[in-house]
């Protein structure tokens, strides 16, 4: 019973918080440009509006096109169950679930690429080929950094890894964690199509990557695709917040109070990370498409050096 309740809380917190993270990032960006910007809750209004509208489907589209929004959203929602928001809460856990998490996200992305090719529009094909290139470039770095953390924690279960990280003390006094953290920041930017890799605010045909794949969708389907992308972004941020900025060891007491406090601390860390992402977006420009391998190589070498330092330090 408690396990079911925990999983429900877990799912609800991530699903309800996800559109807000997007709002906070947009608000920071518009404040930096001396604009008032849209309200923080704007994405909720957009989703409500889109869900009530009918969706138009092209005559030539096959079943893949119609199934993709549901696949994208449901893989993101199952992923949300796997990443615990607090280490005090025993949710779904088994060994190897971090690999399952990344393969679920990759499954959603695979169907997204197929659906963009399905309608036969030029932009869809362009967007999906670019997305496939970016994801295959960033994949080695993801695997290396999660395996490094897994080696330190002696486990491939996300919950165990987070538990191990709370016992490290201050992770920023440890070279392995600082390198893996920097690698993960680049990974988040690439995976959620943020500015050095892709501009989420543009619909310019030469530069868009993620938006090009969503171009044919409308109404309910578009709402599900955008919601799925927001949930995926929050999942990655939760992973970084709980692995590299652990705070649960600071709570002195146990029981329900500790649980509520740890969720509040989690929200604070997610807001902090979204401000960090917003500052990165403000202070950098979008890279030329053929410069993205440089960024991916940098991310790879950060995680590789972390891996090597782990072997040198021997713990």
């Amino acid at each position: 019973m408690i396990v079911i309740a925990n999983n429900l809380i877990q799912l609800l917190v991530i699903l309800l918080l996800a559109p807000m993270v997007d709002g906070i990032i947009k608000k920071c960006k518009s404040l930096s440009q001396k604009r008032q910007g849209s309200p923080v809750l704007q994405m909720y209004y957009d989703l409500f509006k889109l869900i009530r509208k009918e969706s138009v489907v092209s005559d030539t589209a096959s079943w893949i096109y119609k199934a993709t929004p549901y696949i994208v959203f449901s893989t993101a929602a199952v992923g949300a169950l796997l990443v615990p928001i607090s280490t005090l809460m025993p949710s779904v856990q088994f060994s190897g679930d971090i690999i399952l998490l990344f393969s679920l996200l990759a499954l959603g992305r695979f169907f997204m690429c197929l659906a963009a090719l399905d309608t036969g529009s030029t932009f869809g094909g362009m967007g999906s080929s670019r997305e496939a290139l970016i994801s295959s470039l960033i994949e080695p770095s993801i695997l290396l950094s999660i395996f490094t953390i897994g080696l330190i924690a002696d486990s491939t279960s996300i919950h165990q890894m987070m538990r191990a990280m709370t016992e490290v003390g201050n992770p920023f006094l440890h070279p392995v964690y600082i390198l893996t953290f920097l690698a993960m920041l680049i990974i988040i930017l690439a995976e959620t199509s943020r500015i050095p890799v892709d501009d989420p605010a543009t619909h310019l045909e030469l530069t868009m990557v993620h938006e090009a794949m969503l171009l044919e969708y409308s109404g309910r389907h578009l709402a599900l695709m955008e919601y799925g992308a927001a949930v995926k972004q929050l999942i990655l941020m939760t992973l970084v917040a709980n692995l590299f900025l652990p705070m649960d060891q600071l709570i002195p007491f146990a029981g329900e109070g500790a649980f509520i406090l740890s969720i509040a601390l989690y929200a604070v860390r997610v807001i902090f990370l979204s401000v960090v992402i917003a500052i990165t977006e403000i202070s950098t420009v979008k890279f030329r498409f053929f410069s993205i391998p440089n960024l991916a190589a940098l991310s790879f070498i950060l995680s590789f050096l972390g891996f090597l330092q782990y072997f040198v330090l021997g713990r």
Partner: protein, 218 residues
């Protein structure tokens, strides 16, 4: 205290890899300045420790010299030299950047296997710092041979010097003062001579691209 040295050594290594991944000469100079500031910070921490424990203040003096020379004077000199070059084409490397970074990665692994065989250095923490700072030397050398322009090669030379200094500092925790001063005076002479040579190359060939030195053949 050792964990601070670990992190600083990793950050110095990282700054040299970021230097390799840059495309523009102004960013080379900026990254070199950041690396020198990190080295000055390391020397500052070591100097403070030796002042507190043994009453020696020479490492602190070395730290001050690094700040004056490498963080302020040499980057300014390089900016001035770059400003006086007329023909400014930015792209100046032989291989593409991901390949350069992967080769650097290989260099770090190579150094790891070399240094881990030296007995006497094999006490956990010293080992890590020496691996990182030794890699800085090799990466500086590699940076020198991967760039076509004379200015890039000057910065490669400075990175090698930084690497040697950091290796010495991490393995001895403060060298004799006279050795440090000797190294600095050698370096400043070399930089002044190189600056004059860059000017001369620029005047003679209208470019500092060293590929054009082939024109010298009769």
């Amino acid at each position: 205290m050792d964990s601070y040295y670990d992190i600083l050594s990793v950050l110095i290594l990282l700054s040299s890899i970021i230097l390799v991944s840059h495309k523009r000469i102004k960013s080379y100079i900026k990254t070199f300045r950041i690396q020198s500031a990190l080295i000055a910070l390391t020397a500052g921490i070591m100097g403070w420790n030796s002042l507190m424990e043994e009453g020696r203040f020479d490492v602190l003096v070395v730290c001050g010299i690094i700040v004056l020379l490498k963080v302020i004077y040499i980057p300014r000199l390089l900016h001035k030299t770059y400003g006086s070059v007329e023909y400014k084409v930015e792209k100046d490397f032989f291989l593409n950047i991901p390949l350069l970074i992967l080769i650097c990665c290989g260099l770090v692994v190579f150094v790891y296997f070399c240094v881990s065989n030296i007995s006497g250095l094999n006490e956990d923490h010293i080992n890590l710092q020496v691996v990182n700072s030794f890699s800085v030397i090799l990466i500086g050398l590699f940076f020198m041979i991967s760039r076509k322009w004379a200015l890039g090669q000057m910065i490669g030379f400075l990175v090698i010097e930084n690497g040697i200094f950091v290796t010495a500092m991490f393995s001895t925790h403060g060298m004799p003062f006279i050795v440090d001063i000797g190294i600095f005076i050698d370096m400043i002479t070399a930089i002044l001579i190189m600056g004059i040579m860059v000017m001369q190359i620029n005047k003679q060939f209208d470019s500092i691209n060293i590929n054009k030195l082939k024109n010298l053949k009769g």
